[in-house]
Structure formats: C-alpha cells, structure tokens
C-alpha cells in the first residue's frame, strides 16, 4: 500500500503531516505509530525550517515494513549531528537515527531532496515475523550520523532579542 500527499510551506503543515501519516498507521501498534509520527514531524519541520520548501510525504507499507519518504526542494545534505545537552536545537535527525531501523538521504538532479526512513512493523495482534528476504533495501546511501549539520543552522528570528533577558533568568 502506498499513499502520497503534498504539503504547503507553512508551519501548520507539520501537524497536517502527522495527521496524514497517522491515518496510514491505524492498524499498527502504538509504540510504532508514535515513533513514526514523531519522525515525520521532525522531517516536515526540517523541510519548512531549513529548506523553506513545500514537501511531499510518501508512505509505503508492506506486511513487515513501513517506508516513509519526505521530499522537498531544499539544497544541501542534511545529516544527523550529536547535539550536546546544552544545544537547544539540532536533534531532529538524531531522533530519526535513534528510532528508525534504517534511514538516509538522496538528492536528485531535478533539485529535490528526499529523507527516508524504514521501520520494521509489528501490527496490532501479531508477532513480528519479518524476514529480510521479503525486503528490497533502498539504494540510497546512508548518512553519516557523525557529520555536522553546518549548512542548516536554525535561527530564532524575533526571539533573539529576548535571549539576554532570558539568560539572566535564574531557573
């Protein structure tokens, strides 16, 4: 089963993306569904925040696997970094690396960039009988999780003006 949908370059698309994917996960266990929804939220956020682009999501499910692709028109290659506890941002792809069984990024000459991830499924009421023979691994190259995310630093825009005051706050 495959479902695809496009989303506009607006922040509320992140929530709509979660809704769309949740609709595809109705017969999967809660832990899997929660993980997939969180990962989609992170990737949709990256498309808007870093690529400033509309994006599309494709969800393909087989009996044993769920494969999700988020495609936008952003340049650069997003790679997971190891955010320090003191970092306020930079955890999106770290979350994908933690929760997905496999993930990666590929760019096309047409200018699109796709971040994909795959999770093994345990459908509600079933045991996991996944066999690797049934799966064709995606051909994309896996990202190096140790690399930096230097082309895509986040900004805080109008909040920056308040940082000094907040830093003086005694938590």
């Amino acid at each position: 089963m495959t479902a695809m949908r496009r989303f506009a370059n607006v922040t509320t698309s992140v929530r709509l993306a979660r809704r769309f994917v949740a609709e595809q996960l109705t017969d999967f266990d809660d832990v899997t569904a929660e993980s997939v929804i969180l990962m989609v939220s992170e990737l949709a956020t990256n498309s808007i925040r870093h690529a400033a682009s509309e994006f599309s999501i494709t969800v393909t499910s087989t009996r044993q696997h769920l494969h999700v692709e988020v495609t936008d028109y952003g340049s650069g290659t997003p790679v997971a970094r190891s955010a320090l506890p003191s970092d306020t941002t930079g955890r999106g792809l770290q979350i994908i690396a933690e929760l997905a069984d496999d993930w990666g990024v590929h760019s096309k000459r047409s200018g699109t960039k796709t971040v994909w991830f795959t999770v093994r499924l345990t459908r509600a009421g079933e045991t996991d009988t996944a066999t690797s023979a049934a799966v064709t691994k995606p051909k994309q190259t896996r990202s190096n999780p140790r690399s930096s995310y230097d082309t895509m630093n986040l900004r805080y825009g109008n909040l920056a003006a308040f940082n000094d005051r907040r830093r003086s706050f005694v938590g």
Partner: protein, 107 residues
C-alpha cells in the same frame, strides 16, 4: 489545504504561585507552529521576576524537538528545565533524545 482545528493548537498558560514559582502549563501539540506560544509565555515569566520556572507538561499530547527547543531556550545552564507531571509523549521524547539530565522532573 486542510483546515487545522484550533482546538488542537498547542497552548501555554502562565500562572504565578504564592511562593514565587512561575508555572507554564503547556497543552496540546507542541511543534514548529506552536513552539512560539511557549516562548512567549517564557518571556512573560521572565518579566514577572519569579524565583523559579516550572513547566506543567501533564496535558501535552504531542511534542517534537521544536517544542523541546522552546523549553531549552528558557534554561540557564547548568540549571535544568523543571517539568511537572510530564505526559507519556514528553517522557518518551526525553528518553529518545537522552535529555534526562537537562529535562528534570520537579522535586
């Protein structure tokens, strides 16, 4: 485009307690579109000259790293972010990100 139900937006409500604690009750779904709501509440809390800041997370149905970013911005390292009654979604995100030392449940 689909309409987004207003009831599902994340909200943040600031309350000042008698002991000088500012409590920001975060509710709903906290992501890129609602993180600024939390940030705005934090700014008001700073203006209140309260002695400490606690986030009541009991009614958070969903939160991603954008939501965490908003909370982390309130922090003066090494002081942790103090959470009250974190919901399942919040606890799971803390586990996934390994931020248990930074996001601490209120003593």
């Amino acid at each position: 485009m689909d309409e987004v139900d207003d009831d599902e937006h994340g909200t943040a409500t600031l309350t000042l307690e008698a002991d000088g604690t500012a409590v920001i009750a975060v509710e709903g779904e906290i992501d890129l579109s609602s993180g600024d709501t939390v940030s705005a509440a934090i700014i008001h809390a700073v203006d209140c000259n309260c002695t400490r800041l606690v986030f009541d997370m009991s009614e958070v149905r969903f939160m991603d790293s954008s939501g965490f970013s908003a909370l982390l911005e309130s922090r003066t390292p090494p002081a942790p972010v103090l959470l009250r009654k974190p919901s399942h979604a919040v606890r799971r995100l803390i586990e996934t990100t390994g931020l248990g030392d930074v996001m601490q449940i209120e003593p």
